[in-house]
Amino acid sequence: MLQMKNKCPSFFLLALVLLSVVLVSLLVNQGRASDNQRLFNNVVVRVQHLHQLAAKMINDFDDNLLPEDRRLLSKTIPMSFCISDYIEAPTGKDEAQRSSSWELASQILSRTVSNSLTANQINEKLADLKMGISVLIKGCLDGQPNMDDNDSLPLPFEDFYLTTEDNDLTKNFRLLACFKKDMHKVETYLRVANCRRSLDSNCTL
């Protein structure tokens, strides 16, 4: 589970980077039709799979918890945050549909993405997701968005989870919870974006 410490923030950062890039590209160029749509659907599907994987992981973790540990976790976890909390991202439906703040998030994340990938199923999936989104960006947008902005927001990344005073159990639980939450976030953003650019009135991805 220690690997999760390194990977959880990178997961989310990577995902957010890709996500924001995708969103920017979508805003700029919505003319590309079926090709991008197909890629977008593919990306959304991959994110959904990752989210399902994260949910399953935390459920398995929770099922194996001892009752006293569960009690302990329920007390401490709500007070903890994920690193994604520091990244400004839409937190509501209206914000998500506007998608104006995602560009900033993408710029921030582009600077802070760290690659600590190891041979892991999740890492592979995230790598595929990143690749897909990058292809989508190239199709939607000419070049990458400008992510060289300096941001004053402190973004503790890899050390975020390590510096907490939680025990291993708590840390692992936090990593899993954050992973699941981040995946749900990204999935929601991508789905909203895809539904918005698709002409179907009834979007059920």
Partner: protein, 562 residues
């Protein structure tokens, strides 16, 4: 010591109670507590609490709900809107709802600022979608026997989350459960995003209960929908099918019976073809046994060309064509069969044995015209019918009874009424003639001139000849029509010699009436002639004529041949 121990116990109890988080452990029944916060569509949420056993009304009114978003800032805000429809509920609208952020909610009392209860959560973790609505079912397929069927259940998404579903903000997955009524075990099916479920292998005549619930993927299920009850009665299609089969079988049987009965004759012939009798050329043994030689002779006594009814195209019958291109040849050659000389009772080749077997079974009326001259003693070189064969006539002269004078022209035939055991022919008109002759030879002769011509040694005579030389008087014609020619094996010339003439006046009187065709032979052994039948059809057939004394000379033939 005891006091210290007591104090330690108290402290321990205090610590134990404090270690229990108020959010996990159930509060005492008297304290107000939060019952739960839940969201329906990931856009809004509400929190509810209970007052417990708080009696004081003022305290009840002072219950407040405070929440905080960021624990580090500890900014507590009061409930944005207390619900009006329901008591003790706080509603957070979309503007106050922040997803993926931890909330801390506290239930406080105003005045003493007592925190009764506290709760922390993320909004996505408290999403409990509404149950789907509009459940209905359709039979997908039914088994052939009506016992097993497949069903598809469909529903609509919950109306509260419908808008978010359309925009893609929320994604709901569904789970279907069904069970037989009365059973406690539910069968669960995960349908995913589809708003319909296929249930296979349901039994008819069994009531099923189906319910559906929805959830956001990765999070919590909502409550179940109202159950629907499905019951498909067994139509018992077996019984109608068997009844239909039975009726069909009965109907077909009846039809077959009707067909068989209606066409019994034909079916009998088809299934039980008539067995042909023994094919014996020339003779019907039955008739021989009966002694009805009259049947034979009546037929055989006629020229073979003048027996149209006896002729047939029966392939069984051997029929040897007689060459008639050379009239100058001897007459015996005309009708001489090609068969070698034999005493065997061969059938006349000129005959058509068309009824050798049939006459005995199917057409008893049809006379057997086979040759009956099996026992003819004469070893003739020919077995044909030679009415006036001069060569083979030999000693036997045709017993031609004809008047000798030339005036005798017409009625030359007489009816043979009977044949004696000796073979003598008893002619009815002969008797008349004889009587007439006895009375008045000439007169009667002129008037009644009948001729029994038996030109052949076998006693055959030609009807053609008879017709040619017969007088067209009524009496004679009637007798002529009834004239019969018999096959007389041994004709005594006594009877005939008296009236035998050496010449047939017909040769001198070619103007005699035309020939007639024998229509049939009745039971009296008399020929039934066709009325006014021209002689044309028979001219070709008949080539010979009775010669004087039974012989036909070629020169006579020239005169007669048409």
């Amino acid at each position: 010591m005891e006091a210290v121990l007591f104090i330690c116990i108290l402290l321990a109890c205090a610590v134990a109670t404090q270690s229990v988080p108020p959010t996990i452990q159930g509060q005492t029944s008297t304290r107000p507590h939060l019952t739960g916060c839940f969201s329906r569509e990931l856009m809004t949420f509400r929190c509810q609490w209970e007052t417990g056993s708080l009696q004081n009304q003022t305290e009840l009114d002072d219950l407040r709900l405070f929440y905080s978003l960021k624990t580090d800032s500890k900014k507590w805000m009061e409930c944005p809107s207390y619900s009006s429809v329901r008591k003790n509920e706080c509603f957070f609208d979309s503007s106050n709802t922040i997803i993926w952020y931890p909330y801390v909610v506290q239930l406080r009392s105003r005045s003493p600022d007592v925190v009764y209860d506290e709760m922390s959560f993320n909004v996505e973790d408290i999403v409990f979608p509404d149950p789907p609505v509009g459940l209905n079912w359709t039979v997908l397929s039914m088994g052939s026997d009506g016992l097993i069927y497949d069903m598809v259940v469909s529903w609509d998404p919950p109306p509260s989350a419908a808008e978010n579903l359309k925009t893609g903000w929320i994604l709901l997955v569904y789970e279907t459960q069904y069970r037989e009524k009365g059973s406690d075990q539910w069968n669960s099916m995960d349908n995913g995003k589809d708003t319909q479920a296929y249930i296979y292998g349901l039994s008819s005549n069994t009531e099923y209960e189906v319910r559906v619930r929805s959830k956001m993927r990765g999070y919590n299920f909502g409550v179940f929908s109202d159950s629907i009850f499905i019951l498909i009665p067994n139509k018992e299609s077996r019984i109608p099918i068997t009844a239909v089969l039975v009726f069909a079988a009965v109907g077909i049987t009846i039809v077959l019976m009707v067909v068989v009965v209606s066409r019994q004759q034909k079916l009998m012939v088809i299934f039980l073809p008539p067995v042909p009798g023994p094919k014996i050329k020339g003779i019907d043994p039955v008739l021989l046994q009966k002694g009805q030689l009259s049947e034979f002779t009546s037929i055989l006594g006629t020229h073979p060309g003048l027996r149209p009814e006896l002729y047939s195209s029966d392939p069984w019958v051997e029929f040897i064509e007689v060459d008639i291109d050379e009239p100058h040849e001897s007459q015996e050659e005309l009708l001489i069969a090609d068969s070698p000389v034999s005493d065997s009772p061969q059938m006349s080749s000129s005959f058509r044995d068309d009824d050798s077997g049939r006459a005995s079974c199917c057409d008893p009326d049809l006379s057997d015209h086979d040759q009956t001259d099996l026992h003819h003693p004469s070893a003739s070189s020919h077995d044909g019918f030679h009415p006036l064969s001069r060569a083979q006539s030999g000693p036997q002269q045709p017993a031609a009874v004809c008047p000798q004078d030339n005036t005798w022209s017409n009625n030359l035939y007489s009816q043979v009424s009977d044949v004696t055991h000796r073979g003598e022919v008893v002619l009815s008109p002969e008797e008349q003639e004889t009587m007439a002759l006895k009375d008045e030879d000439h007169k009667k002769r002129k008037e009644i001139q009948q001729l029994v011509v038996i030109p052949d040694e076998r006693g055959y005579t030609s009807e053609f000849v008879a017709g040619a030389i017969s007088a067209p008087t009524d009496q004679l014609q009637s007798q002529e029509q009834h004239g019969a020619f018999r096959d007389i094996q041994n004709l005594s010339t006594d009877m005939v010699t008296s009236t035998q003439s050496s010449a047939f006046p017909i040769l001198a009187n070619p103007t005699s009436p035309e020939y007639t065709m024998v229509d049939s032979v009745d039971w009296k052994n008399s020929l039934l002639l066709k009325p006014n039948t021209p002689t044309a059809p028979h001219k070709a057939a008949v080539k010979t004529f009775p010669t004087p004394e039974g012989y036909l000379t070629p020169d006579l033939l020239d005169n007669i041949t048409p």
